[in-house]
């Protein structure tokens, strides 16, 4: 099949290119765009390592064809910190609270939590656990991930209140 035109916004930058229509979004991001933050951990849409933000929703980018993302606004882990390099509250909280070990699930996990905290800025522990249940971690047992998200949520609401 011949290549199709691709237009999308990735981490605030307009991207215009072409791609083989069967390319999965995760491969497009990792291999064409060199955004290797999102990872691949399974073949069945279970692990969430590939999670990116697409039009304000968390999606598993291994389950989206690049063409389906045409016109979309995509945010990956690389676009979560502020432009001046200041880390997002989630990134900071994961570091401070040992919310990661091997780091392989981390980009997907933070990107998911980034959306979760916009959907529900003050989640209970149970809501956090449910909210990240599409993202698997083999190292941490989730305990410190949940804690990191709780602390980031507090941090963000303080920030909001201050503004």
């Amino acid at each position: 099949m011949s290549d199709i035109k691709i237009n999308m916004t990735i981490n605030g930058q307009a991207v215009e290119t072409t791609a083989d229509p069967r390319t999965l979004l995760i491969h497009f991001l990792r291999e064409d765009q060199n955004l290797t933050g999102p990872h691949i951990g399974c073949d069945t849409s279970h692990c969430g390592a590939c999670t990116v933000d697409m039009n304000g929703k968390s999606v598993k980018s291994c389950t989206v064809f690049v063409g389906q993302a045409n016109g979309a606004d995509i945010v990956t882990i690389e676009g979560i910190a502020e432009a001046d390099g200041t880390l997002h509250a989630l990134q900071e909280a994961f570091r401070q609270n040992h919310g990661l070990q091997c780091g392989f699930c981390t980009p997907g996990m933070i990107t998911r939590a980034y959306r979760l905290l916009q959907e529900n800025p003050n989640p209970t522990e149970e809501e956090i656990r449910y909210g990240i249940s599409g993202n698997l971690c083999r190292c941490t047992g989730y305990q410190n991930i949940v804690k990191s998200i709780q602390i980031a949520a507090e941090e963000l609401s303080h920030k909001e209140a201050a503004e």
């Binding site: 399974c42 073949d43 040992h98 091997c102 190292c139 047992g141 989730y142």
Partner: protein, 807 residues
Amino acid sequence: MNDQTPISREERIEKLQGLGCSRKRVEDARFTQGKGNYIDDLKLPGMLFGDFVRSPYGHARIKSINPEAALAVPGVLAVITAEELKPLALHYMPTLAGDVQAVLADEKVLFQNQEVAFVVATDRYAAADGVELVEVDYEPLPVINDAFKAMDEDAPLLREDIKDKMEGAHGPRKHHNHIFFWEEGDKDGTEKALDDADVVVEELITYQRVHPCPLETCGCVASMDKINGKLTLWGTFQAPHAVRTVASLITNIAEHNIRVISPDIGGGFGNKVGVYPGYICATVASIVTGKPVKWVEDRIENLSSTAFARDYHMTGKIAATKDGKITGLWAHVLADHGAFDACADPTKFPAGFFHIVTGSYDIPVAYVGVDGVYTNKAPGGVAYRCSFRVTEAAYLIERMIDILARKLDMDPAELRIKNFIKKEQFPYQSALGWEYDSGDYHTAMEKAMTTVDYKALRVEQTENRAAFDRGETRSLMGVGVAFFTEIVGAGPVKNCDILGLGMFDSCEIRIHPTGSAIARLGTISQGQGHATTFAQILASEIGIPAEDITLEEGDTDTAPYGLGTYGSRSTPVAGAATAMAGRKIRAKAQMIAAYLLEVHEGDLEWDVDRFQIKGNPEAHKTMKEIAFASYNQAIPGLEPGLEAVSYYDPPNMTYPFGAYICVVDVDVDTGVIDVRRFYALDDCGTRINPMIIEGQVHGGLTEALAIVMGQEISYDEIGNIKGATLMDFFLPTAVETPNWETGHTTTPSPHHPIGAKGVGESPNVGGVPALSNAVHDAFAHKGLTHTQMPHDHWRVWKVAQKLGLTD
């Protein structure tokens, strides 16, 4: 160069961020921003991709392979089969266990998803297209999926390649599907103890086949530079130096022309210790094409072809007096190793350290025998988050103790305490030949029982049982107790080697003129945070702040030789090498300081970050000053510079231990188990970084939960693997995972330079029996002795139904 403002001793200690502090991890800045560098992130100019054609059959003869249609796919460059590898003598490779394994199937396939051909293409999509189009004609053969039938007289012959080789790597083979028989202990004495005992319990306990399943699968990039003759191999290797040596031995490329690099690794848990066909095929493909070749397995390939764990069928017998003193332990294991013996055990121990099976108990006489057999299953047999076969041993003894307690009508905690090795018995010589270094089991158990208020739990359970019988609840409460002793830190070169490579480890340190440093190790982190913790060990040893020490691992061109990271050996072995190399630095620094202060070395004492004159702390030289002097002053009798290297051969293993107690509520109508509480007390000797230790315990317990509550790699009768995707293979999400409570006691290892023992594996080793015992305990009063794991909802419901508890 003198420090500007004098700071207090406490501040100086604080500044080091050394041993015992919860230093934040230096790795995390990259990982939280998506800037990790994992194998699949590596992209080289002109890089090709390889992908495997795999067998759909569990056992079949290959009649023909036709690559034509595949080669016609645009982008497909080559299809490699065993025929192409034969002239290079690369169609088989040695395994870590002294067997050989087919790199690409040679005339027949022995397990489903075995590697049959390797398609090389310009991108991964073209490679996948090529894989679909390679035509392979198979003739199916009868399958052995049950280890108990492997040695039947009429069992089909699996390994034609070694059918005449009746002397195996570990002694004689007694059947064509037999691999080895290994035994240890006093057989006659143990049988006599069983004959003479007041009470004997016997049980067949199976630890099902599972898989380490790190979130990142295995993979590599091989790049042969034809101009300078150098092969560079990047990959998910838990033991990069061992890979280099093996690669050199099997390819005949001189070892100095091979560079092996382990980049960031997305979890290992034993999965990434072995050498897999993908590494060899990518290397061959790179040699043939002159281009870099990447191979990264997908999840199905990972679960079905690289590195299973366990699959041990263990029969245990315990002899005891009627008041509960254990007088003997007998065990036999039927070990299912799959189609090739690719176990990752030290060479002399084909069943790993299974003979730690006497556990934490003072058992006067014991015997174990292990038979390894071939079946039509994937090869492997790795230490999935445990030291070699230690979790199997701990599961057997801890289940058997509970069964004995039930038979004697004793409380399982009380029975354990009664038989514990006492503090004053250490170093303790076990009946099966190990010398336990240190322990204080009574204190640990007492602390755990007090923390959870064990007595109150038993009272509550009695009430729950009465309420259940009155029909007021459909939920049964179970209390699980486990007390484990691990054996880690392989190991002393005198008895531990892999393929003849002694299992020492190493550290090389260079202090820079301005007083910062770089340390290189033979190990490799897969999430354990080595860059953080090893710098802490060094900071305390040499008085340079941890943040001023760069830690580097995983590049065989720069790191000193070491055997890698698995079996919880990094802290016990490489951690010790780090401390010892630090001490060499300090010894030279002392000579330099003596010269600078114009005193005799003996007049100096070490204090945090400096040498000072005894009784006159004002007269001192800091490590920073000493470092500078070592580079700019001609000191009589001393070479310039400040560097050291240590190769550490541990005198003994280390023996971490722990007391785990958990409480579950089992819904008898659905089989759903709720882990209400889990308390894990670990004693891993000196604690380097409490934050990281806790994190390791959380993760290991979650893996234990996965194994107990649902993980199983099983095969049907015609050899199909059932459930090799994350759809079927159970990995708990945040919803199923409870909050873990942790605690500790500290009993340093007497032979380790800083007294550390290692912790990474303990929670898996102790967590499995604790959780399984809790499930059994819930039904014990209704007559359940033992039921095989995993305790998933269906199986638990079946148990309840069999006991007549369901509606």
